[in-house]
Subunit: 161 residues, 2 copies
Amino acid sequence: MSVQNNRDDKDRADEPVTSSAGIDAKDVAILNLLEADGRATLSQLAKATGLSVSAAQSRVQKLEKRGIIRGYAAVIDYERSGLPISAFVSVTPLDYTRESEIPNKLHDIDGIISCYSVAGAPSFVLLVRVASPSKLEELLNLIHRTVPVSTESTVILKTYF
Amino acid sequence: MSVQNNRDDKDRADEPVTSSAGIDAKDVAILNLLEADGRATLSQLAKATGLSVSAAQSRVQKLEKRGIIRGYAAVIDYERSGLPISAFVSVTPLDYTRESEIPNKLHDIDGIISCYSVAGAPSFVLLVRVASPSKLEELLNLIHRTVPVSTESTVILKTYF
DNA sequence: CATGAAAAAGCGGCCGC
DNA sequence: GCGGCCGCTTTTTCATG
């Protein structure tokens, strides 16, 4: 892992999004394009960025190797695909000495989409997705059986964007 | 990566409930594969599902036309790409008569990734991503100038998955 | 880093079952 | 609706300047 400089994070109005070392404006353009269309071809990227195909290719490969592009995924409408209920689950450990084990244990539980460690009262926030309210209850029970935590769920009524 | 469907008693999401979802097990398999690898080819999907290429093709096309597959996107590590700070922002309207306008007004603000309407005390939860702490402050100020709300931010320390 | 080639692969439409 | 075949197009890759 590259240890980066402790450059002051004062905002500079001329670089709105780009700041990480080694990422220039064209890399950002490529990332944005690939985020909007993960199946964009190298020639599309080249044309949009004003680069040649081979230059675009080497940039994409570097972005992939550096882990900035983690992969590619289909964007799925879960509401239409059989998992209509999403919720945030705030997770507070009952035993803080074992806090660090929690994400690993939660990782393999079906229905838990994401796990964030957060600053504040609860230690973790989960994003979960289930097929029905009763499945949500099942999932919460499973979480409680898996790790010693208390939970508080906030059902998502609608995803605007 | 785990997927969904803790198959249990009460709810069956995979039955052809005629009106809404004609999604069978093979469609689910295709969705899972495409979610894990949005660049999977039709022949890969066919081989993995036991279908022929043309059958897989027609299924994918139907899933796309029905909007179940919304599109394809690169999965980007924002922490490495120059937007290291993510946070949940709970949004509580000060004026509930104009609550419904809020998501639309927030939609175009740079840095707001997602907007969820939730059941519970705050009306909305935002997922935001910014380049620095001061940019987060800027973003919150902008939100307050844009819509009459109070906010409460929870910074994400780490995204486990 | 741009250009140009060759090679490979995916895609889409046809057929019959 | 599914499976297999074939031709076309596109993309990728690798050479070179």
